[in-house]
Assembly symmetry: D2
Homo-oligomer: 408 residues x 4
C-alpha cells in the first residue's frame, strides 16, 4: 500500500505567517484545489516579534488533488506533520530525474535525512535537491548524473520563506507599488544606505547592467561607483561592453553623440569600429593595458580588478573576445560570480535580470531599475519578497546614486 | 458651370520643400487618392539657404477625388495657381458653418481677399476663418455667429508650413526619435539654453503640468524655477493644485510620504483635508495671504504673481475655489493665457498637453516630458514640427533643469 | 479633559481577516506609526466559511500618533471597543467641514447614532458623512451646508471591507496580476458570464469608454453589445461621441481610414466636419431622428434608449450639443446614472475611469481594459478589491466579448 | 599625396530621392558636419514612375569632416563621382580589418572592382565586404581571415536604398505610425494578403516568436498556421519551446491555467517537469515520435517538417536538447535558416527580433507585433524601410490572423 493512498493530511507551519500573508495564501491554495481545511491549533503572535503557529488538517477530494495541494503548501513553508525522512530516488539517466522530483524555490530549505534536518546548500530556484555524503545541495537538472539521490515527493522537506522583516533598512514600509508616479530620490537614499551598509559589513554588491546604462548617459556615474568600490562584480552582455567602448572611443551611443544629441546616420559604423579596435588588440583587458581604452565602465572594472562576466546573445555583434558565447558556460560563470553577494542592482536589462534572479536565494536583495514599469513588475515578481522595483530613467538614477554615495 | 467642374488643376508651392519633407508628402497625397501629378517646373535650392519651387499639374480620376487632393495639398502649403480670391460664405446659423468650410491647420495662413493676401490672426488648429472688415481671423466653430463670412473651398488660401530650421537653438540635428534610450542631460542642456534665450528676448514661457510633478518629487525644483522667473504662466488641472497643497501641508502625495516613501493607508484623508483647508479660507490666494499655505508650486506662483489657470475634469475632488469647472470658460482662459507665449513645457499631462497643443500656432515650440513614450509620441504628433519630446522621469528632469538654470 | 487624551486604545475587528489580508495590514499600520499592539483575543475561522475575530490593545508613542493609527485602523474595518456614538459636529460654513472630519472609503459603513448602528447611504469614496433625521448619508464636501451634522473623529464608525469572496463568478482564483502576458480569452469568458449573470438578476451594466474604442475598430462590436441590451448606461467624454460620429459619417478615425488603414493628411477636417454636421441639426438625438446619423455607438444608444452622459474636457473640439461642459453638473449626472449599477466596464479611458471609480461603492465590480498596463494598474489600485484588470487591445477585446455574448 | 587630401568632392545619386526622403537626409548630413553643398544638377521625376537625379559638390571645413560626410552619404546611396575602383586592403589578422573598413548597411550594394560594378552577396548589416575571385560578399567581422581583401574607404561603393514603393501590397499608404490606437483588423487583413502572396509566389515565411505567444493563448492559432503551411521556418529561444511543451502537457503557462486563469503557486514545477519530460526522452523530436508530445507549436513544426532553430540565452531553464547554447553556432543556424525568406513575422520578442533584423537584407519585409509600442518602435527602427509595426495583444492577433487565412 502506498504511503499517501489517503486524502487527508495534517500540515503545520510557524513563523510570521500573517505579516508575510502566508496564512492567506495557504488557505487559498487549499480551497483552489477543491480541498478543505480544518484548523486544529492556531497560536497568534501577540506582539510584532512573536511568531505564529498553525496546525491544520487538509482533506482533498482525491489523492491527486491532495498531492497538488501538499506540493504547493510545502513550497509555501508548511511541513507534513510527523517525522518521516525525505524520499530519495536515484536518477536513472544523466540530466533527468524521477517525475515526482521536488523542484526548489529560492527560499532556505531543509530536508530530513537519517532523522536529521539538514540545510540545503547553494539554494536557488528551479533546481533539484541531491543528497550525498550527508549533505543536501541544489543542482541544475542538466547537472544531475546517473545514480544521484534526488529528493522526491513532499515529505521531509521544510521551506523557510524569507519572512518580510518590518524594520531592516527602513524598507519595510516603503510602498512597494511599482509605479512611475513615485519620488525616485526617496528610493535612491534608501538604496545608498543599503549599499553602504552592505559594504561596511563586508558584503559584496553585484551590478547587472544593460546597454541602456550607456545610452542614457550613465557611464560616468557608473564608472564613479566602480572606482569608489561600490561594485564587486559586473554581470552583463556583450552589448553593454560594446556600447561602453564605443562611447569611450567615439563619444556616441546608438549613433547619437552623447554631448550634443546629434544623430549620426549609419551610426553603426562607430559600433563596428569599436568592436574591430578591441578585437585587434585581443580583448578589453589588453585594450586597457595598451592604453587603447582609457575610460568607461569596462575600463574602470579592469583598472580596479572588478570581475565581470559578459554573456552572449543571439543579437550580438562581434562578439568581443571576453564575451562568453557558450551559454552553459556563461550561466556557470554568472552563478560562480554571485557567490557571497548580498545585494544585486539590476539596471535596465530584463534578460540578464531574470537570469540572475533565477540563480539567487531569496535572502539576497535585488534592486531593479527600469523606465518600463512592466519590466520592473516582471523582475520583482520572480519569487523574492526582497525585491525593490524603481521605475525611472536609468541615467538620471545613476547620477542621483553617485551623488548620494560619492558627492559631486 | 461650377468653376471646379474639372478634374485637373495646377498647384504651386515654394519654400524648404525638401528639408521639410513636404515634397514627398505632396506627391504621396496625389497618388494616394488615385490622382496623378506632372511636374511642370521645379527649381531646387542650390544651397542650404535657398528655397525650392514647384509647379505641377494634378489630375484626378474624378472631381470629388481632385477636391480631396486639393484640400490636402492646400493644408500642406500648396496653393491653386491663378489669382482668385478665397470663397466666402455667410454662416446661416450660430455655431455652424457651410459643409465645405476650410478647417485650419496650426501653420501661418494667408487668405486672398479683394485681391490682397492678408494674414490670418489668432492662428490655431481646427478653427474656421472668418473675414470681417478686411481682417481674417481664426474662430472656434462654437463662436461663429449667423452672418459671419466663412472661408470655404480651397482657393485663395496659402498655408506657410513652419519649415524645419536647421540651426536655431541647436535642435535641428538632435535626434527627434522618441525613446527612453537617450541621454536626458543632453536634452536638458538644450532646453535650458532655449528657456534662457526666450527670457532674454522678452518672450514668455508657459508650463502645463500634471500632478505627477508632485508625486515624483518635482515640487521643490519647479518652485525654484517659478521663483527664478522662468515660468510666466501655469496651466494645469485641479489635481496639480490639490496634490501640491497636500504636499505642502502634510508632506505626502498620493498617500506616500515624500521623504520616507512610507505609504499611508487611506492616504486620501490628507488629500481631502487639504481641499477642506483651502476651501475653508476661500481659495489658494487667500490661503497664501493668510499664511495657511507657505510653500509649493501654487504658493510660489501666487507670491511671484505668475498667473495660473486650473481647468476642471470629471475626476476632480473638491474642486478648489480657483478651479474653473465650466470647460468652455476654462478653454477660453487657457487660450488667453497663451497669448504671446514663445515656449511651452508640458510636464506629464497628456490631457492638458493636447488641449494646449490645439490652441497654439505651429511657431510656438513645445517641449513634452513624460515617462511614457506613447504619451510623448502622441503629444509630439499633433501637427507641430517644433515639438521636442523627452522620455524620462519628470521629478529628476526638473531637478536637472533647475540645476542647469539656477545651480545647486 | 478630552476623551482621547490617552495613548492606548482597544480595537476589535471580525470577518475574513486573513483571507482579505486585513490582519497583516492592521499590524503593519500599528508598527509603521511607531505604536505597539498586544493581541488580547484572537479566534481564527477554522474553516473557509468561518470568520475570525481579533481584539487588541494598541499603544502609541503619543496621542497624535495613536490618532493616526486609529484613523487608519477604522478605515480598515476595526472599531474602537466600547459603545460610544459617533461624534457629530455642525458645519460652520458651506462647503467646509471641521478639520477632524471622517473622510469615507468606498466600503460599506455604519455609524452609531443614538445608540443604533445605522448604515451610511450613497456610499462612495472621499465624501463626508452627514447625519440628518436619523439617517446617515455620504455627501461631497462641496455639497455640505452650514449646520449639517458631520461625523468627526474615529469613534462610533464601523467599516465593513468588501471581503474577498473566494467563489463568486469564479474570479476568486484568477490571477489578479496585471500583465500583458495573459490569455485574454480566459478573462473575456469570465466577464461574459458575469455580464449575463448581472442582466439575468435584473442588474444594470455601465460602460465607460474612451475614443480608443473607435480608433481600434471596436465600434461595430460595441454597437452590437448595445443593441443586444448589455449596456444600460454609457459614460464617456465628448471625444468618444465625436470620433464615433466621424467614423459613422466618413469611415475614418484620427484621420485614418478604418478599412484601408490609409492615412488622410489633415484628417482633422473630417473630425471638424462631423462636429459641424451634428451641431447644424442640433445634436446627436436630432441627428438620429433626422437620419443624418445612421450607425455607431451613439446611434445605437439613442435608438435603444440607452442613457448616456458625455462629460467635457479641456481638450474638446466642438463640443457636441449633448456634451456637459459644466463639470460639476457632469459629475452629478455621472453619479446619478450610476445608481443601481452592478458592473462597470472601463474601456481605455483613465480619466473617466478614475472619475467613475471615485463615485462607486466597493461592492460594484469594475472591469478595466487598456493596452497600457500602467493605466490598468492605476485604475485597479483605487481602493476596490473588486476590480479586474485586463491588458489588451480594446478593439480585439470587444470583438471577443461580442462573439462570446452574441456570437458571430 | 593621399588621394583625398582635399576638402571638396562631387557626389551623385539617383532614384526615388524625394519619395524616400533621401534628398532631405542627404542635405541634413552635409549641414550637420559643418559642410556645405552646392547643387550642380538636379532632375526631378516628373511623374510617380520617373526617378530623380542629383549631382552636388560637397565642401567640408576640413578633410576629416568631409570623410565623415562622405561615409554617411555613401551609406545613403550617394556615390563619389568618377570611376575609381573600390579600395581593397588585406586583413592582417583573423577577425580584424583595417580601421577605415566599409561597414555595410542592409541595402543592396555594389562595389566597383576591376572596372566592373559587382553586386555584393549575402547582404546584411554591420558586415564587411570581402572581394575574392571576382565576387564581393558580406562577411561578419569574426569570420574575416588573414589575407582577405576587405573593402575600405568610400570610393567605388554604391548603395541602392530600398526605395519606398508606393503601391505593392497596398502598404504604401497605410499609416506607418506605431501606436496602440489603430484598428488591428485592418493590418491583419493586409498581412494575410501578403502571406498568401508570398506563398503563391513560392516564397518562404519565417516566424520569430517569443514565449508570450504561449502566455497570451496564441498556441492553438499559431499551430493552425503551421499546419496550414504558412510557416516555413521557426526561429525562437528555448523559452518558447519550454512554455509550449508545458502548455501541451499541463495546460498551464507561467503557472497560470490557460482555460480557467487559475494561478498555481509554485507554477514553476510544471515548467521544470516539462523540461525533465523532454530531456528524459531525448528531445522534442523524440517526444513527438514517442507520442509524449501531442500538440502545440513545436509538435506541429515537427509533424509538418517545418525547420526550427532554438537559440539559448542566459535565462534559460534546461535547456531542451534541441536548444543551441553556443551562440556563434546559433547565429549561424539562424542566418542559414533565413536564406530565401521573403517575409518575417516577429511575435513578441525584441531579443530574437533584433537578432534576425541584423541578419536580413532590407528587401525582406518584417512584420513586428508586440503589445509594447517601445518594442515595436525599436524593431521597426533598425534600418528597414520595409518594416510594419503593429501594437496589439499577440494572442488575439494570432486569432485574427488564423481566422483570416484559414477561417473558423
Amino acid at each position: 500500500m502506498a504511503p499517501r493512498a489517503r486524502t487527508t493530511e495534517v500540515v503545520e507551519a510557524e513563523g510570521h505567517l500573517i505579516d508575510s500573508q502566508l496564512l492567506n495564501v495557504i488557505f487559498d491554495t487549499v480551497i483552489k484545489w477543491g480541498a478543505k481545511f480544518d484548523v486544529q491549533k492556531f497560536r497568534i503572535g501577540r506582539t510584532n516579534e512573536e511568531p505564529s503557529f498553525i496546525s491544520m488538517r487538509v482533506t482533498g477530494p482525491d489523492e491527486t488533488s491532495l498531492t497538488h495541494v501538499l506540493e504547493e503548501l510545502v513550497a509555501l513553508g508548511c511541513r507534513i506533520a510527523g517525522t518521516r525522512d525525505a524520499t530519495l530516488v536515484r536518477a536513472d539517466k544523466d540530466g533527468c530525474v524521477p517525475n515526482d522530483f521536488y523542484s526548489t524555490t529560492n527560499h532556505r530549505t531543509f530536508v530530513r535525512h537519517q532523522g536529521q534536518w539538514i540545510e540545503v546548500e547553494r539554494q536557488r530556484m528551479d533546481a533539484v535537491i541531491v543528497v550525498e555524503e550527508g549533505r543536501a545541495v541544489c543542482r541544475k537538472l542538466r547537472d544531475v548524473r546517473v545514480g544521484d539521490a534526488v529528493v522526491c515527493g513532499v515529505e521531509g522537506i521544510r521551506v523557510v520563506p524569507e519572512f518580510r522583516e518590518r524594520d531592516r533598512y527602513g524598507f519595510a514600509f516603503m510602498t512597494n507599488e511599482i509605479s512611475s508616479e513615485r519620488r525616485v530620490e526617496t528610493g535612491v537614499a534608501r538604496i545608498a544606505d543599503m549599499m553602504r551598509e552592505v559594504k561596511q559589513s563586508g558584503g559584496r554588491i553585484a551590478v547587472v547592467a544593460g546597454p541602456v546604462v550607456v545610452h542614457t548617459g550613465g557611464v560616468g556615474y557608473f564608472s564613479e561607483l566602480v572606482a569608489a568600490g561600490f561594485v564587486d562584480v559586473l554581470l552583463a552582455g556583450n552589448a553593454l561592453a560594446v556600447h561602453d567602448v564605443e562611447n569611450a572611443l567615439y563619444g556616441t551611443s546608438l549613433g547619437v553623440d552623447a554631448e550634443t544629441g546629434k544623430a549620426i546616420e549609419g551610426g553603426h559604423r562607430h559600433h563596428m569600429r569599436a568592436i574591430n579596435t578591441i578585437c585587434r588588440v585581443g580583448g578589453l583587458r589588453r585594450a586597457v593595458a595598451e592604453g587603447v581604452l582609457r575610460s568607461g565602465v569596462m575600463y574602470e572594472c579592469i583598472r580596479h580588478n572588478v570581475p565581470f562576466v559578459l554573456a552572449g546573445s543571439i543579437r550580438d555583434d562581434g562578439p568581443l573576445p571576453e564575451t562568453v558565447m557558450d551559454l552553459i558556460e556563461a550561466q556557470d560563470q554568472y552563478a560562480a560570480a554571485l557567490e557571497g553577494v548580498k545585494l544585486v542592482l539590476v539596471l535596465s536589462t530584463m534578460l540578464h535580470g531574470i537570469g540572475v534572479g533565477n540563480m539567487l536565494p531569496s535572502w539576497v536583495r535585488m534592486v531593479c531599475v527600469d523606465i518600463n514599469p512592466a519590466v520592473v513588475t516582471k523582475l520583482a515578481d520572480r519569487g523574492s519578497s526582497q525585491t525593490i522595483g524603481i521605475v525611472t530613467d536609468v541615467g538620471l538614477f545613476l547620477h542621483q546614486l553617485s551623488r548620494r554615495l560619492i558627492g559631486d
